[in-house]
Symmetry: C2
Subunit: 214 residues, 2 copies
């Protein structure tokens, strides 16, 4: 037998689908709780059983949007891949998901980007979470001899800047998937490991690779 | 005695200043030739003596906006700086100019960015010119033993992506000058030279630097 919690969750899911429908119809224009209730065929007071404020609704929209990305970040951060592969997977898997989301419905994607800009305080926590997991990966890289002359924060900032095109979800809109691809992303991650403060190990690898030492 | 050409130029300059005034007042909202004439205290037919179409006006606005950047690109590309310094100067000097333009009047800057998006066909030539000079610098770097396993186009694309935060003029608006600075830009350029396809010379330099070879 379904518990009340489940009915509540089902109602929330349904309302979130109606948010998609409204955003498809109207773009990023501000949506009120009353309009959402009407769209979902619900009385304006009833909607507050599911979301007790517009803020709660927006947080649920963000939670749904970021759910898969968080699952990827957690899975990659916990995996035992070699550190260079882990860094690549951390950015590449989220980038490929972003491309899928964008290509699935470019107009809807663009509208959600605008909503995200409008309510950046709701999104900020997820951006910070991305930096948190990246900091864990950077710390592991440091244990492996990389980035030793930088702090974790400095390294996170430089990596985010060098991979901005693959981190910023708006880049697929203005640069496009023709110019952005995982091969280039792989090349940039390699460049970061080989060139960002070039530690002993990485230099030794490069040297072996080109045959200066054997 | 002033030649007619000079009067024409003076009139154009004056009208471009009135474009600034209008954009400050109204933001990026589309400006008609008639409105500009009114703003400048000129008859609607008279304005066509200076710009024979809206397109000609927009091209003059873009030309004025990019003039200093083009001067920097030309000066740096022609200079005889060592190649790593030249690459750094190419990005750093334009970035510093961008920061100045932004900080001088953030609202006006934002409006011009929006106008640039609206009329991207007018801006495209300047973006291509940036890639042209970067390709020249990359070719010189290749003569110095860098990026040897890549084509010029691949290298230009990867460098533009890794330095996106410093190349994209909108980045100062959404990332901010707190996180973007020339120290990080220098670090990224170093990373590119040391890590992007790590050629013989760069690896030898790294090796010397950390004392594997002497």
């Amino acid at each position: 037998m379904a518990r009340p919690q489940t009915n509540l969750d089902a109602g929330r899911q349904l309302l979130l689908e109606h948010v998609d429908i409204l955003v498809r119809k109207r773009g990023a224009a501000d949506i009120s709780m009353t309009e959402l209730a009407t769209e979902a065929g619900m009385s304006p007071s009833n909607i507050y059983r599911f979301f007790d404020s517009k803020e709660a609704l927006l947080e649920a929209v963000a939670e749904k949007w970021f759910a898969e990305k968080i699952a990827i970040m957690e899975a990659v951060a916990r995996s035992d891949m070699p550190i260079c592969e882990k860094m690549f997977a951390y950015f590449a898997r989220r980038f490929l998901l972003t491309v899928d989301q964008y290509e699935d419905d470019p107009a809807l994607y663009k509208s959600y980007m605008e909503i995200g800009q409008q309510y950046f305080e709701v999104v900020r926590g997820y951006v910070d979470l991305g930096d948190h997991y990246l900091a864990e990966i950077v710390a592991e890289a440091m244990e492996n001899g990389y980035f030793l002359d930088l702090t974790i924060d400095e390294t996170v900032s430089l990596i985010n800047q060098m991979l901005q095109c693959y981190v910023n979800p708006e880049a697929v809109m203005f640069i496009g998937t023709g110019k952005l691809n995982v091969e280039k992303l792989q090349r940039i991650v390699d460049t970061i490991f080989r060139g960002l403060s070039a530690p002993m190990q990485a230099v030794a690898d490069n040297v072996r690779q080109i045959g200066v030492l054997t």
